[in-house]
């Protein structure tokens, strides 16, 4: 998506699965450990986690609540520090948050005092891009998420799904190296959730981008992912890595396919095994 910076807009039929085959590593999480301590007690949230995401790959972490999968995203964003290990994005060691790692949160995090347009523009302004370029980028991403008619609306006037669409546009507008998504559709009703998954796949199809997506919804994980990391909890470890070879573009129809069901069965097996 570097094309955007040249004032050019890349759109249309490039399939990211074609792009990332054999491409280099974007995200490299190396032997991360995370321990919270308060007074005498200490809780190990993550233990020796290693995972990679190739450039333009859609990587999904799926696991039960409380397994530490969100912590992994916050660590990658640089919002919390690991107790051990290191995280590299494009071979640069993470040391605090930055615009190179965009994030969409589970909670609604639009700035309520900025209208939709200004929310999407927020990161561009912080990075002091020229006004004409900002305008072009904002308009492009508002179109991508289908909210160009709502550019002047306040966040409080939007539905939950619309707010998350703005949050996606806002994160992508910054052209980050990687997009981190922390159960972004977790608070939405199931109909909206389905259409948001489709929208995300479309946007990702137009704008090749490395994504690390966290969810506890197995269907969502398989629908979206090139690769799934199955996590189990307390302390959080990666139990298995599964490659998803379902063809793209995908629609929600694929939940009927055999490969989909095989993967679902496998993941359920791992998670069920943990419970007992």
């Amino acid at each position: 998506m570097g094309a955007l910076n040249d004032g050019e807009i890349m759109r249309g039929g490039i399939q990211p699965s074609m792009l990332h085959t054999g491409s280099r590593t974007c995200l490299d999480i190396r032997q991360i450990g995370l321990t919270f301590s308060s007074g005498q007690q200490s809780v190990t949230a993550l233990e020796d986690i290693s995972l990679q995401a190739a450039e333009n790959e859609f990587a999904v972490i799926v696991g039960p609540s409380g397994c530490g999968k969100s912590s992994l995203l916050y660590l990658t964003a640089g919002l919390i520090e690991p107790t051990s290990g290191e995280i590299r994005v494009n071979d640069k060691r993470i040391d605090g948050p930055g615009a190179d790692r965009g994030m969409v949160f589970q909670a609604y995090t639009l700035f309520p005092w900025l209208n939709v347009r200004d929310n999407v523009e927020y990161g561009l302004k912080r990075r002091r891009l020229p006004a004409a370029q900002r305008k072009e980028i904002v308009e492009y991403y508002l179109r991508e998420v289908g909210l160009e008619r709502f550019a002047d609306a306040w966040p409080r006037q939007l539905s939950g799904g619309m707010m998350q669409r703005v949050a996606i546009a806002r994160a992508l507008a910054n052209d980050p190296d990687i997009l981190l998504m922390d159960e972004p559709f977790g608070a939405l009703d199931s109909q909206t959730r389905l259409s948001m998954q489709q929208l995300l796949l479309n946007v990702w199809g137009h704008n090749s981008k490395t994504v690390l997506f966290v969810t506890h919804d197995i269907d969502e994980a398989i629908l979206l992912a090139d690769r799934i990391y199955v996590m189990s909890g307390r302390p959080g470890v990666i139990s298995r890595t599964i490659e998803v070879h379902l063809p793209r573009p995908r629609t929600s129809e694929i939940v009927m396919e055999k490969h989909f069901l095989d993967i679902k069965r496998e993941i359920l097996g791992i998670l069920h095994h943990d419970d007992t």
Binding site: P97, A99, W113, R126, R127
Partner: protein
């Protein structure tokens, strides 16, 4: 409840009533007050040296406006309130936001602020007179000390309440620490800060009267005190009424400000 009669709606908890009825009721309460006041005064039930008649208060107002003395006293009080309030707000707003957001600022200021805010400012008045004299500076100081520490604590609370998610989102969009203060904390605190100003403005009006009762040579509190000595109870009533009216005006001003500046919040 769409088809319920007006009576039914008035008797139903939280049911809305027509705007005209809201207005009429608001005017009605004053009609009741004035009617009762007229009843007990014109009938001679209460003697006029304790409670003046509405007409005598009005005629006092007309004559004091006529000779220009009333404007001088209104402005004198308003000036003190305005200076004290602005001075306090200008310092308390940024400092309070820092106090609510930076742990060191809080650790440093909390012990002093929590000590100071339980001291009644009236206890300081003799000290201020000794230090500053009885000029306008003294009264401004009383107001400043009366509301500053309260404002500080309220604003610190407001800024502590700003969602961490907004701050995190801002960082992931490339904001630096300074940006978080100016582009997240300040705008996020604005609605709360305006509400806080509306509340503390009322306190400022209380303290100006206290200050004027002790040491002043003009102002609404001062003319009340002087009127008491001359048994001019109509002037006392006029002064109280004016303070209430000025309070009402400033309150409406802050309501309007809140609507204008933070229409995004509602």
């Amino acid at each position: 409840m769409a088809h319920a009669s007006l009576w039914q709606r008035c008797l139903t908890p939280r049911a809305t009533i027509p705007k005209t009825l809201t207005w009429s009721a608001g005017i009605g309460i004053w009609l009741v007050v004035i009617a009762l006041w007229s009843l007990v005064t014109y009938s001679g039930l209460v003697r006029s040296i304790f409670l003046p008649t509405p007409t005598s208060v009005l005629s006092t107002a007309v004559s004091m406006i006529g000779d220009g003395s009333l404007w001088k006293d209104i402005w004198s009080s308003a000036q003190v309130v305005l200076y004290g309030f602005l001075l306090s707000s200008v310092v308390a707003i940024p400092l309070g936001i820092l106090m609510g957001s930076f742990r060191l600022a809080q650790a440093f200021l909390d012990p002093l602020v929590n000590f100071m805010r339980y001291l009644p400012v009236t206890a300081f008045v003799p000290l201020f007179i000794l230090w500053i004299g009885i000029g306008i500076e003294q009264r401004v100081t009383v107001i400043f000390f009366g509301i500053f520490f309260q404002q500080l604590v309220m604003i610190a609370d407001i800024s502590r309440g700003v969602s961490q998610d907004l701050i995190n989102a801002s960082y992931t969009l490339g904001a630096k620490r300074r940006d978080v203060v100016t582009h997240v904390l300040f705008p996020a605190c604005l609605p709360g800060v305006i509400d806080m100003m509306r509340v503390t403005m009322g306190w400022a009006w209380t303290f100006v009267v206290v200050a004027e009762l002790v040491a002043a040579n003009s102002g609404l509190g001062y003319i009340s005190l002087k009127a008491m000595r001359g048994f001019q109870v109509d002037v006392i009533f006029l002064s109280i009424g004016l303070i209430g009216l000025l309070g009402l005006v400033t309150d409406q001003f802050f309501r309007l400000l809140r609507k204008r500046l933070t229409s995004w919040a509602l």
